[in-house]
Symmetry: C2
Subunit: 337 residues, 2 copies
């Protein structure tokens, strides 16, 4: 029996900040599943700032064609199965985007093991703290940042899912952790996670504010923002400081000739700085090991995560647009059903 | 018997490009040497763009006080000695600056071993290809650049002492080496050293010119220039490319609020780039090993170096100012006596 479903498609390419006109919610009818196929009903899909690049096609992944489904991770339930690896009722994750239902041959679909996902570890963690955002925090901080006990770690977008997780891992490694966020409320949240300090960037003299909160300088700057904030951090780095380029959300809506970037490259010489970009998929072979370690931390109460959930697939585009206004606190998800 | 001598001092701090008024040639009279002291007569002193930072005091080394002798390396001859480690006639190197003579207690002064410095290895090499410029090339390329056979290495200021040496070492490591210099004459020189290609930056669309000469992209960019040239290189880097921040000569004369820097930081994420600054003194313990290896290459004819020598200490300031006009080809030296 065909399934009535909905999906968000790219209606037009955004120039600058994305707007409602760039997205369209279409009805669709999914055919009956064929041999080896499964039907998944979406429970939650994610809303990711990093997806902005695909909308314009100026990023490393290919441009999303206009008319195609908007990409994202999702958690769902198998509603019908012709595939022996999946049974009806299995909770699964996959990359089917902003859809209410998906038909799949099972490739890239993972069943969430009930022995792992229970208690504090909710199924949505699979596409959040144990998914790409959390893995970005884990490998970015540990591999590129190389934290040592006593290091001062500065983190931008500290109330976002990547920053909040990176900060908690840095605390576990014995670092002093300072967050930058967009409001006092977000800073209170961040301090509740164990950050030593946090300040709001709004209206701040960034260079002076970082100096005030990191008077001895910064060993690791975990950057999710870029541009002026990155430049201000560079001016506060200690010798041999490491800059992890995790995200550049302040640049994502800028055309190539409007990028702001940084001015203080001479500091790389005078202070022996290192700056390195992360693409988390480079660590694909170690994902399971990292996920198991983070799951352990969550069950032990050492690692918290927060989700910012809106109900109804009608709100997906607005939730995405709002990411660039700094609206979210924690991982932004849409509860579809 | 007191010695009549001359030295260049900092007359005033330059703002922007240094001018003749910032320097003054003073007469001085050196007293007779005391216990454990030696008198050195300068044969050559160096003229270094990296010294620009000390003139303003915005760099990592302390500002040079106005009225003090301008810093540099020198090669000289011991004219008198009350120190058993030095005998009259020894050829030595030290950091006594733009002076005709210096009195020293011997600290930091090294005797050039005649068994090392002969034939192709002239004494001035001790403050050039075996000195800070050459060591910067060696450790910058090998340690930060990590060249692998078949890599494409792009080098700015390729006709300068650092770039020319880095390029020849990269060739020895099996890389394809492309230079950027300031004229066709300099490019001819660079190609004569074994670079595979070279182009002049004057009037060039840098991004397009790099693309033309490195059609498959750049694995290592060894940067002596910074700003627009660095940004254009970033747009041509391959995935996992390494940027060695060796010098930023285009930025040295700019005040902090005039720095140009780079715009394309998002490429660090999309292309997993790494950028790292070099301070060669961090490798101090390995200097002798590197110098011995480079001396071997020079004696075997594998590594060439060029000196751009002007006669007479009266010309030191003009020679320094000219560095920022791209005048020099090879290591700039003043022959004092």
């Amino acid at each position: 029996m065909p399934t009535k479903a909905k999906r968000w498609v790219l209606a037009s390419r955004p120039e600058g900040k994305p707007t409602a006109e760039n997205f369209r919610l279409d009805d669709m009818t999914l055919p009956d599943i064929g041999e080896h196929e499964i039907l998944i009903r979406t429970e939650f899909h994610s809303v990711d700032p990093g997806m902005r690049g695909r909308l314009s096609g100026d990023s490393y992944t290919a441009a999303l064609p206009v008319g195609e489904t908007i990409d994202s991770a999702m958690v769902g339930v198998v509603e019908a199965s012709n595939n022996e690896k999946f049974k009806v009722g299995d909770r699964v994750t996959g990359g089917f985007g902003w859809v209410t239902h998906a038909v799949s041959n099972g490739r890239g679909v993972q069943v969430l093991a009930p022995e792992m996902f229970h208690g504090a570890l909710r199924p949505t963690a699979a596409i959040g703290v144990l998914g790409i955002p959390g893995l970005t925090s884990y490998f970015g901080l540990l591999e590129l940042g190389q934290p040592k006990e006593g290091d001062t770690v500065l983190i931008s977008s500290a109330a976002g899912p990547v920053g909040a997780t990176a900060g908690q891992i840095a605390k576990m490694k014995g670092c002093r952790v300072v967050g930058i966020a967009g409001s006092k409320e977000k800073c209170d949240y961040v301090k509740g996670l164990g950050f030593d300090a946090c300040f709001s960037y709004r209206g701040a003299d960034l260079r002076a504010a970082i100096k005030e909160h990191c008077p001895d300088g910064v060993d690791i700057y975990f950057d999710n923002v870029g541009a002026e904030m990155l430049d201000a951090a560079i001016l506060n780095m200690k010798e041999h400081g490491r800059i992890v380029v995790s995200g550049q959300v302040s640049e994502y809506n800028r055309a190539e000739d409007e990028l702001v970037g940084i001015r203080n490259v001479t500091r790389f010489i005078t202070h022996r700085l290192r700056m390195e970009g992360l693409v988390v998929f480079d660590y694909f072979k170690r994902f399971r090991e990292a996920q198991a370690e983070m799951a352990g931390w969550i069950h032990e109460g050492k690692l918290q995560y927060t989700e910012d959930v809106s109900e109804g697939i009608e709100g997906s585009a607005a939730a995405f647009i709002g990411l660039f206004e700094g609206e979210n606190l924690g991982r932004r998800l849409i509860e579809v059903s």
